[in-house]
């Protein structure tokens, strides 16, 4: 069990400089050697044959991406012919990688979008030389004064006996003349398997679809002003800049620090000065942070003064005026309970007014006045049952689990008294579904707020509010969205007068490939009917409100599924053109070792 690997820590406090110099040379061994784990993550070891091919093909595509960046940066000679032969088959024959013509389909002050069709334009790229010319033409779209970036993400594979075909997202970006341009396309690639079964697959043909370029007239639309805004606070360096690995060997699991890192962010004007402030809930062992905006436009750390610097693990904060006295009170999704803290009007939250202790695994919070009695009620999402530490009751079945934690509707009875109204309002139906987010909207226009809940491992809920009683109508409304729901956002994105909903899910390239390739079938046990399990990995969903309270799934038409492993996925009109765009925060676990499958 003991990993026989011993590493020296250079502890400056006890090592004189001379010894340090000596020990650096003599005794420092690498902290981690990925080779140890290469075997453990080799999909071939588990019999995931197509996964092994996918890995090889993706590695080859990533070499193409690296060459593209080199050529675009004017270093065409950085791509030796010998190397090309290890990626491109002699019989390579393909249309070009760039459309002959691009046409603008959207022009705004912030962005221009141009698209064109590359297929069938010119089939004359043959052999290694042809590949170089095609690559050169693509690189021409990326020339500029910022270092270009290019990457592929392989998401589908269809293997035959002698060769196979892959589908991969192509993304590249570069800056030129103060502007900024990105390329997006889907590469359908035919590969030849090496004759003897050993060695890398070779490129036979590339067909480029959905080619599109998006550009800005100046640099990127958003710039990072964090350091200017909060950098003067000691907590910026001591806490915000510290990577997880700094805490993962310092704060114990029992104190509430884990790798998952489910911490959100909340904005409200806590002291009534007309300026929005920021709350960052924190992992266990680290204090929550409240940054209050001052008149200079920077933010001061008021966590201790505001008395919100709790060290129990927190996930989300929600600022809502629960007593209708004109200041935002704070609800804190924490462990092992949900706290309700009263604002004294100056941004101090010294009084804990309520502890909801029977929601041990709470996460996202939302509020609405569901019973239209003039005060705000709370809805708390819960993920797992308390005792479900890895294993005992993992989500089963995978595509339709209903053995998770219980979400709770807390009815506001005034005076910071809250009553669990979940059962009496009908919200206990389908209420064990590993929920991660919820948001309220009056979907049917009857004057009360309906509730959409995004659930991991299966179906979501749309609870229609009929005067304070709820019925789950997700199925008939067409928004069950069997998937890994993690986020809900409402807006009228198509401006047809009906509210639409965007649901953050997990687009898993590996999940996509695996669920379509069926060693998975044997492993999944009772994972569920194939279609549902495949649907799980599709990605984010956009449902457009239709007449009669139903919805139409526009996810694929609108091309908004590929948010990757999405968390917050929300509507926002970022370019002020009056149409709601989508922003997706994503990425699951980025650690020291390379990625999963």
């Amino acid at each position: 069990m003991w990993i026989s690997r011993v590493v020296v820590v250079l502890t400056l406090a006890v090592v004189p400089a001379a010894a340090l110099a000596q020990s650096r040379q003599a005794e420092v061994t690498p902290a981690f050697e990925p080779e140890n784990f290469a075997a453990a993550v080799d999909p071939r070891a588990d019999g995931w044959d197509t996964e092994a091919l996918s890995e090889q093909a993706e590695a080859q595509l990533k070499r193409v991406a690296a060459w593209l960046a080199e050529v675009a940066a004017g270093r065409a000679d950085a791509v030796p012919s010998g190397d090309v032969a290890t990626v491109v088959d002699q019989a390579f024959e393909s249309p070009g990688f760039v459309p002959g013509e691009l046409a603008a389909r959207y022009r705004g002050r912030a962005f221009t979008v141009e698209s064109g069709s590359a297929s069938g334009a010119d089939s004359g790229y043959r052999g290694a030389e042809g590949f170089r010319r095609a690559l050169g033409a693509l690189a021409g779209r990326l020339s500029g004064d910022r270092p270009p970036r290019a990457d592929f993400k392989l998401y589908s594979i269809d293997a035959g006996s002698e060769g196979f075909t892959t589908l991969a997202y192509f993304e590249a970006a570069a800056g030129a003349g103060g502007g900024f341009r990105q390329l997006n396309a889907v590469w359908s690639t035919v590969w030849r398997l090496p004759a003897d079964g050993a060695g890398e697959p070779l490129l036979l043909r590339v067909e480029v679809a959905d080619y599109e370029e998006t550009s800005t007239p100046r640099g990127p639309l958003f710039v990072d002003v964090t350091e200017a805004a909060v950098g003067h606070n000691p907590s910026y360096r001591d806490q915000l800049l510290q990577p997880p690995d700094a805490w993962l060997n310092r704060i114990t699991k029992a104190s509430g620090y884990n790798k998952t890192g489910w911490q959100g962010v909340s904005v409200a004007d806590v002291n009534g000065d007309g300026l929005d402030d920021l709350l960052l809930p924190e992992q266990g062992g680290l204090p929550n942070r409240l940054y209050v905006q001052n008149r200079e436009g920077t933010f001061d750390d008021r966590s201790a003064d505001a008395a919100i610097d709790y060290l129990e693990r927190a996930l989300a904060g929600l600022f809502v005026d629960l007593d209708n006295d004109g200041d935002p009170d704070l609800v804190l999704s924490s462990r092992p309970a949900v706290l309700v803290l009263e604002n004294d009007g100056s941004g101090r939250f010294a009084r804990v007014r309520h502890i909801a202790g029977d929601i041990p695994d709470s996460n996202s919070l939302s509020a609405a006045d569901y019973d239209n009695d003039g005060d705000l009620d709370l809805y708390v999402c819960a993920y797992r049952r308390a005792y479900d530490e890895r294993g005992v009751a993992s989500p089963v079945p995978y595509h339709d689990a209903n053995n998770g934690g219980r979400n709770v509707l807390l009815r506001n009875d005034g005076g910071f008294r809250f009553v669990d109204a979940t059962a009496e309002t009908g919200l206990d139906a389908n209420n064990r579904r590993f929920s991660l987010a919820a948001s309220w909207e009056d979907v049917d226009g009857d004057g009360d707020r309906d509730l959409y809940v995004a659930n991991d491992y299966g179906r979501n809920n749309l609870y229609r509010n009929d005067g304070g009683r709820f019925v789950d109508v997700a199925g008939e409304a067409g928004v069950e969205d069997i998937s890994s729901g993690m986020s809900v956002s409402w807006a009228d994105y198509n401006r047809d007068g009906r509210m639409d909903v965007y649901v953050g899910n997990m687009f898993s390239a590996a999940g996509n490939r695996i669920t379509y390739q069926r060693k998975f079938e044997r492993d999944r046990q009772r994972a569920g009917p194939l279609a549902e399990v495949q649907r799980m990995a599709r990605g984010n969903s956009l449902f457009a409100g239709a007449s009669g309270g139903g919805f139409v799934d526009r996810s694929v038409d609108a091309n908004v599924t590929m948010g990757r492993w999405s968390w917050s996925s929300v509507f926002a009109d970022i370019n002020n053109d009056g149409w709601e765009d989508l922003v997706v925060a994503n990425g699951n676990l980025t650690q020291t070792l390379p990625d999963d499958l």
Binding site: V8, L10, V14, R109, V352, A393, V570, D573, I574, N576
Partner: protein, 800 residues
């Protein structure tokens, strides 16, 4: 037969749960998992129509930070949406300013309800802003996305349009209200009942924030961790220099012990031990014992030996206990680390644990610890829980929970399960006592009692599993029962209890439960499967079949249930019906590999090669490299004289599995059958196959003999027989009479009787060797002599 498959704790789920656990192990070791992804931005093309456009890179928001939360706000009140992003990794926060040149192309509204019919925050209010390009709608919301809340200010981008009339608000308490006075480029308060938008004073002018990239530092590796509460320390052993047997390190005997892991090649270790030796008197006076355990010669960096460790200890005259670490000790150190932290870092030297007088780990030191630090930490040993807790946090803050007096022993127990099950059982038994006491404490807060209840449940369930592993089925059933009593509505708890009862031989109780469940709900699939399982276990397979049949009737689209039913029918030797079920399975789920496999085998047995081929193809759709299916399909192709298909199939198989000698053999045969162009390569494959698997010689011999001697001229092929026989004899070195006889028959069939006769002669020589005393020798000699005569007369062999 597998057990109740629909229960969440079914044993058939073990592979699924096991793969989850395996994944978590790898994540603990630092594997990324859908990491290195970049945030996405999709641009709504609006009236231009079509799909959203990817603007991730050009937005400037596409950081690979493991983003989590998004909260939008207008940071500077300049009319565009800025965004705060919270991340899992560093930097934890990105405050991203929108650089849009805005001008007057926006309106921002701050709604306020009357606090009577409508909540003051106006959450739920729907706002409509009429513009020259149509109506814009927004709602006030509290909480959206994931774990996030955006500003209450409603933001309306206007594009090139103007606000064309009063703003309409639908208040959540009922009633619509219009507000005049809203114009492009303004920020307004919209107060319920006032009917007129109000412009608050403009935000103060201030110095713009200067954008700058954030640079998180590299994490430091050394650390001092004060533990509050203190986890149980396992027992450690050391081996004195030159001794052969390890002895226990006496810890938890009333005085604190520092267990130190070091090596002589580690410079910081040497400085640390020297310092501890220098301050020995002060440390002793404070009541501390030290056990310094050397790892010299252990692990991968085994460049030094025990001797070097002893020499250094002698040099500094180390006054405390010292010796060599044992593998057991290092294993347990690893367990302590893993049980405490959610990430597994390799053991770094020096490493120490301060164990208190009650045998609990009080502090960990990664990197050197000075005597001064130790003396300070010894003071902490008797500190109040609250002070200890404060000392344990790296940054100051406050708590709303009471400091836990003791750890959750249940969560530590599982770490010892694999290597040290006795430690695990002892911890769990203590856990049951402790948590039961907590649960019974009526004065405790409800969530604290709930926590105790959960830990008690977990402890009982784990004890059930461990006792079952140790073979004490009665104890297992007792613990599982206690867990079930705590959570009687939990199907998982029920399943665990039932499984334990079955292990303990109490089928009667399980049956009674299943029957009761079915009486209450005849559609309870889990209960019916359980009943069928029991009947099957008693040998009453027919009744079991009947029960499962009813279950299938009730849930006809449950694929796995049908598969189970098919298996049971097969066991009852009702093969035709079994096959019907498997056929139904693949109709419901055409990618059900296992059912296809069974169907293919059955089809082959009844000589329905076409059907079998179809099933193999279906398997290959799912798993293009499935050996069995490739081999089966290719053999069927060969039998149908579709030699090209067969060759392709065998080649594919061999490209994944080059050691599959039988496939290589068949490939060789198919190639040779395909005509002269493949003969040489075919012969090559045959030889390689024979060399790899001598058992194939018999099969090759049969084939060659049949080809050489078949009574039907159309099925004879002398050339082919000759090719095979030559390879057979080449591999056997011409020393096997049976193979030589086949070769001779092939040679005769091709008309070369002279060579055939010579071949038989050499066979006769071998058999005639006086040292040969194999049984049947006489008969063989007689047969070969007859053959020799026959060939000399120019007569080939026909039939056998």
């Amino acid at each position: 037969m597998p057990r109740a498959p629909s229960s969440p704790d079914d044993r058939s789920l073990e592979p699924y749960l096991e793969s989850l656990r395996a994944l978590h192990e790898r994540l603990d070791e630092g594997l990324s998992f859908s990491g290195n992804e970049r945030n996405c931005v999709f641009l709504n093309p609006g009236r231009a129509g079509g799909a959203f456009a990817n603007a991730s890179a050009v937005s400037g928001l596409d950081f690979p930070d493991d983003g989590r939360g998004l909260a939008f706000l207008d940071l500077e009140g300049d009319g565009d949406l800025d965004v705060a992003i919270s991340n899992r990794t560093a930097p934890r926060l990105r405050l991203m300013r929108n650089e849009l040149p805005v001008g007057r192309r926006f309106v921002a509204l701050h709604l306020e309800g009357d606090g009577a019919g409508t909540n003051r925050d106006a959450v739920g209010a729907r706002v409509e802003v009429p513009t020259s390009s149509g109506l814009l709608r927004r709602s006030v919301r509290a909480g959206e996305g994931f774990l996030s809340q955006s500003s209450r200010w409603l933001h309306f981008g206007l594009g090139d349009s103007e606000v064309s009339g009063p703003v309409r608000v639908h208040w959540p308490g009922g009633g619509n209200e219009t507000f005049a006075g809203v114009a492009a480029g303004g920020r307004y308060r919209i107060v319920q009942g006032r009917g007129m938008a109000e412009a608050p004073p403009a935000p103060p002018r201030r110095t713009p924030l200067v954008p700058r990239s954030q640079e998180p530092p590299a994490p430091t590796t050394g650390s001092r961790v004060v533990l509050a509460p203190r986890p149980p320390a396992p027992s450690f052993t050391l081996r004195s220099f030159d001794a052969s047997e390890p002895v226990a390190v006496e810890a938890g005997q009333g005085r604190p012990v520092l267990v130190n892991i070091w090596a002589s090649w580690c410079v910081p270790c040497r400085f640390e031990l020297q310092d501890l030796a220098n301050e020995a008197d002060a440390l002793r006076a404070a009541g501390l014992e030290i056990a310094a355990l050397s790892t010299d010669g252990m692990g991968d960096v085994a460049t030094t030996t025990e001797e070097a460790a002893r020499k250094f200890m002698d040099e500094i005259a180390f006054p405390f206990l010292h010796g060599m670490a044992t593998e057991e000790t290092l294993d347990k150190v690893e367990i302590v680390k893993r049980s405490l932290f959610d990430r597994r870092f390799p053991l770094s030297l020096p490493f120490s644990m301060l164990i208190d007088g009650e045998g609990r780990v009080a502090a960990l030191y990664r990197g050197g610890v000075t005597a001064g630090d130790l003396l300070a930490d010894l003071e902490l040993l008797d500190a109040r829980d609250a002070d200890l807790r404060a000392a344990s946090a790296p940054l100051p803050g406050r708590w709303f929970t009471e400091p836990p007096g003791e750890v959750s022993l249940a969560s530590y127990a599982r770490w010892y399960e694999e290597g040290f099950p006795e430690e695990s059982v002892a911890l769990l038994r203590r856990s049951v006592e402790v948590e039961q006491t907590r649960l019974d404490d009526n004065g405790a807060a409800s969530f604290e009692r709930q926590g105790a209840r959960d830990r008690l449940f977990r402890s009982l369930q784990r004890l059930a599993v461990l006792e079952s592993r140790r073979g004490d089925d009665e104890a297992a059933a007792r613990y599982a029962r206690a867990a079930f009593d705590l959570e009687p509505d939990d199907p998982a708890a029920r399943a665990v209890w039932q499984n334990a009862l079955l292990d303990a031989g109490d089928t009667g109780s399980v049956r009674a439960q299943a029957e009761a469940a079915l009486a209450a709900d005849p559609g309870d699939v889990a209960a019916r499967v359980r009943l069928a399982e029991l009947l099957d276990g008693e040998g009453r397979t027919d009744e079991a079949v009947r029960e499962l049949g009813r279950a299938v009737e009730g849930s006809p689209r449950d694929v796995e249930l049908r598969y189970l039913y098919g298996q049971l029918l097969g066991k009852a030797e009702r093969l035709r019906e079994a096959m019907e079920q498997f056929a139904a399975v693949v109709t419901l789920d055409p990618r059900h590999v296992e059912a296809h496999r069974i169907l293919a085998e059955a089809a082959i047995r009844s000589d329905e090669l076409g059907a079998a081929w179809g099933h193999y193809r279906a398997i290959l759709e799912v798993e293009p490299r499935d050996t069995e299916a490739l081999y089966g399909a290719a053999r069927i192709a060969a039998a149908g004289d579709r030699l090209d298909d067969a060759v392709e199939g065998y080649r594919t198989l061999l490209s994944h599995d080059p050691d599959h000698a039988a496939a290589r053999h068949e490939l060789g045969l198919a190639l040779i059958r395909g005509g002269p162009s493949g003969a040489a390569e075919g012969a090559e494959h045959l030889r390689r196959a024979y060399l790899e698997d001598r058992n194939l010689l018999a099969r090759g011999n049969d084939i060659a003999w049949t080809l050489a001697t078949h009574p039907d001229a159309g099925r004879r092929d002398g050339q082919l027989a000759l090719l095979i026989a030559l390879e057979l004899n080449a591999v056997a070195g011409g020393a096997e009479p049976a193979l030589l006889e086949t070769l001779a028959a092939a040679q005769a069939e091709t008309g070369d009787f002279e060579t055939a006769a010579r071949t038989v002669e050499s066979a006769l020589e071998i058999v005639g060797d006086p040292r040969n005393d194999s049984p049947g020798r006489e008969r063989l000699l007689e047969l070969l002599s007859r053959r020799l005569e026959q060939y000399r007369q120019g007569i080939p062999v026909r039939g056998r």
